[in-house]
């Protein structure tokens, strides 16, 4: 898990950690059920106060992004919280807006774009089926 802390931009570090972990979850780079590094490990890696990491984890837990299991260990929430889903939707919409702007600039119609999206999806799922064969 790669996080980058900027000590100089005035955003409290616990918020920076929260925002970046939310982004990693929303973008799928952290998968549901995946274990996050321990508070101590992450604090030593980023050279920030362990109490700060503990606060970020606590608030992510309240927001439903992560969950604590048994006594030790923090994991990405299994079902994805409504909030994580909202974040994912936001990311996807940004990408789609970008795609549409570029497509229209190149002179494609919406129908054509949709057809190409479906074709791509078919190509990907065929590839997946092909991949499992010896």
């Amino acid at each position: 898990m790669q996080l980058h802390i900027q000590a100089h931009d005035g955003v409290p570090i616990y918020l920076q950690v929260m925002q970046q972990i939310k982004y990693l979850v929303a973008s799928g780079r952290l998968q549901p059920g995946e274990e996050l590094p321990s508070i101590r490990t992450l604090a030593e890696q980023l050279l920030v106060n362990p109490n700060t990491i503990a606060r970020a984890y606590r608030e992510l837990e309240i927001a439903g992004v992560v969950e604590k299991r048994r006594t030790a260990g923090t994991y990405v929430a299994e079902n994805g919280s409504p909030l994580a889903r909202k974040e994912r939707m936001k990311l996807l919409k940004e990408r789609i807006d970008q795609l549409l702007v570029e497509a229209f600039q190149m002179g494609f119609e919406l129908d054509e774009v949709l057809r190409i999206v479906q074709q791509s999806e078919m190509a990907i799922s065929n590839q997946k089926k092909g991949g499992t064969e010896p």
Binding site: I5, A7, H8, D9, G10, V11, P12, I13, Y14, I39, R40, A43, E44, L46, L47, V48, N49, P50, N51, T52, R55
Partner: protein, 301 residues
């Protein structure tokens, strides 16, 4: 003595209304601050602000002229054994007996601390790549700092006090020092007090901070809360102004013409309301860094 019995106390350090003068110079004025157990406390201030003088009161090297200083519930001047045995201290000028060898300073320091952990000391010595036979005198500045850090850490102190620990050091040694702070506080219940003028270090590590200026505490509290209370807001006015229009709640401003940028503390709503009444529009809003908070606080004092 009743205060000797107050163990375990919630505040490792408890300073109330402390005053101290050196001749005509008032070095500390009306200092009140508490350092909670298990937290990292960052003391911020320029040269001559009183950081080292304050730290020396905590170590019992200075008595309180008026007011009180309690460390682990004890007066450090009258109870040096109870206090100093539980503190690991690294001084600003890193004065250790320079004629000794690394192994000798380790043996020497060990004799003062019943809780000295010899295997941990050895682990640190190897990690810091220190030759036990080398004389302190011949060490580089960075290696000397590592020796000081080793002797401050090896008895696993309940309170680690570092006075300007990273001044004049290269980034690699600074990393060792920051890592030592992180590890100390990660061990349940241990507390760190460090002074620094490198504010990005304080931002990374401190739970609480105090800004000290000319012997007074200008600002003290939870770092996150302090950072969240300060905002920088840029307003665009209908008309150009030769000087900043005064806005209620603003503590600092700069800009020109139509656009003026204000800093406010905790009065964001008030400032935005005030802006509306003079038909100014908020065009930009950002948090501000601890550096800027420090400058703002000093300028206002």
């Amino acid at each position: 003595m009743s205060d000797s019995m107050s163990v375990p106390c919630e505040h490792v350090v408890d300073i109330r209304k402390l005053d101290r003068s050196f001749g005509p110079k008032r070095a500390l004025q009306d200092i009140t601050l508490q350092i909670p157990r298990g937290k990292v406390f960052g003391l911020i201030g320029g040269n001559g602000a009183g950081k080292t003088t304050l730290i020396k009161h905590i170590l019992g090297a200075h008595y309180a002229e008026s007011g009180s200083v309690r460390v682990f519930g004890f007066d450090p001047v009258t109870h040096p054994v109870e206090v100093l045995g539980r503190i690991g201290y690294m001084s600003e000028d890193r004065d250790i007996p320079y004629w000794m060898r690394v192994q000798e300073i380790m043996n020497y320091t060990r004799s003062f601390f019943p809780k000295w952990d010899a295997s941990f000391a050895e682990e640190l010595r190897e990690m810091f790549d220190l030759d036990p036979k080398q004389r302190i005198r011949t060490l580089s500045r960075g290696q000397t700092a590592r020796v000081c850090l080793l002797v401050a850490l090896a008895h696993r102190p309940e309170l680690l006090v570092l006075d300007e620990p990273s001044s004049g050091l290269d980034p690699i040694v600074r990393r060792d020092i920051l890592a030592a702070i992180v590890q100390t506080v990660a061990d349940e219940g241990r507390t760190v007090l460090f002074s620094s003028h490198l504010l990005d270090e304080v931002e990374r590590l401190a739970d609480r901070v105090a800004i000290l200026h000319e012997g007074r505490v200008l600002l003290e509290g939870e770092l996150d809360a302090i950072q969240e209370s300060f905002r920088r807001i840029t307003l665009r006015f209908e008309h150009a102004f030769p000087e900043a229009p005064s806005i209620l709640g603003a503590i600092e401003y700069r800009g020109s013409g139509h656009e003026w940028t204000y800093v406010c503390r905790g009065d964001r709503e008030q400032l935005i309301q005030a802006a509306k009444t003079v038909k100014a529009e908020v065009v930009h809003e950002t948090p501000i860094s601890l550096d800027e908070i420090f400058v703002c606080s000093v300028n206002r004092s």
